[in-house]
Symmetry: C2
């Protein structure tokens, strides 16, 4: 019955970065979540396609079925900034009521469920438990944003890269072999660095045996302790 929507059992509908723990939707909410799933429509996007643009009306939100999405912004002079990556199972696009302040783009090929904002709000008003789910989800997003503020505000390049690798590992719940769907450029714009610096730091980590890089989109953590020691706060 739920299979039709691909991954994610309904009890994990609002699942987000496992990093912050605590599955939100708890027993007793199945009805609501099923109703919510039925409001969505499936969409797919090719690599680098725009899911929504800066300035679009924020009248819908998405849940990722498969693939990775970047939430980003291009400054007038060409500098680019990536606010967040979202992976399979994550929800994104739940912004304020007005216009999008960031764009959402497909990192590789992506399949999402698209939900109408108004319909969702109606459902939430009927079933208040859902409001709690949303609050919790946003709390986790906020906690993550604050971790990133620390990273961008006070960490060195090696700390940022180490932190990024550990985050990837945690999100995918993998201890050793990381699949890295995004380009070096994406990583740089996410970490507030340049592509060259990202490469150099990765090469240095490879040189001293902390990681292995069988190919650019696959990184293996060989010495997790060393990585963790790098970020040590």
């Amino acid at each position: 019955m739920f299979k039709q929507f691909g991954i994610g059992a309904p009890s994990e509908f609002f699942t987000q970065p496992p990093s912050v723990g605590v599955s939100i939707a708890r027993s007793g909410q199945l009805d609501e979540l099923v109703a919510l799933e039925q409001l969505g429509s499936r969409r797919s996007f090719a690599r680098d396609a725009e899911i929504y643009a800066e300035g679009d009306r924020a009248d819908c939100w998405f849940k990722i079925v498969s693939g990775t999405v970047r939430i980003c912004k291009l400054m007038a002079d060409g500098r680019r900034h990536i606010a967040e990556f979202f992976h399979a199972g994550d929800c994104f696009g739940l912004d304020g009521e007005g216009e999008r302040t960031f764009a959402a783009e497909a990192v590789g090929d992506v399949i999402v469920m698209r939900f109408n904002r108004a319909a969702t709000e109606r459902l939430i008003d009927e079933r208040p438990v859902l409001a709690r789910c949303m609050c919790n989800m946003m709390l986790r997003n906020l906690a993550h944003a604050q971790t990133r503020l620390l990273l961008l505000g006070r960490m060195t390049a090696p700390e940022r890269v180490a932190s990024f690798l550990l985050e990837l590992a945690e999100r995918r719940d993998v201890r050793r072999v990381l699949e890295v769907p995004m380009s070096r450029n994406d990583i740089a714009d996410y970490l507030g660095l340049t592509i060259e610096t990202v490469c150099r730091v990765l090469s240095a980590m490879k040189r001293d045996g902390t990681i292995a890089i069988p190919n650019p989109h696959r990184i293996e953590i060989c010495d997790r302790d060393a990585l963790e020691a790098t970020v040590e706060m």
Copy 2:
């Protein structure tokens, strides 16, 4: 009837940075908000006092009656990071369920209302409109955090300082004369710079007539266009 709680009419109970606009609590919610006010107790803190520490249980949250609060973290090697400043009328401390990941400290003398988390949640379950208020408040916090990510990730020192001054002006809803309650050190740790860089940028702006600095805690915006042109995105 509401005067006893100092500033903030009940219809603005959850008021937050005006930057993102839209007052959340709308008519028809007065009862709930009054009930909420009565759950709180008044506390005051002297300059630099810790309102809560990193690692404390997050069993309460606060609304600022007067003064300014910084949400911050000290790294093992002494680097400090300020995630956010909150001003009179703002709510803070609404984190996840577990431990505080940041500390909250009084920038100057501060008076707050303290609210019990469990009691608030009970109230929210009874009066679901409040859940929407909270969601909206967190959405605005999140939007603000993302603006800050861009600032820390991709902006130069002059851009950061200009952006900070404009934010101060907007929050206080003042166009020219800014009261700056925090120290240069606080500003530096908020903008991901050093105190010397903050001073130098401010001095440069003063030199070319963009701002005036009658004393360190008062800055006047003389040429708003120049400031806005600096941050231009």
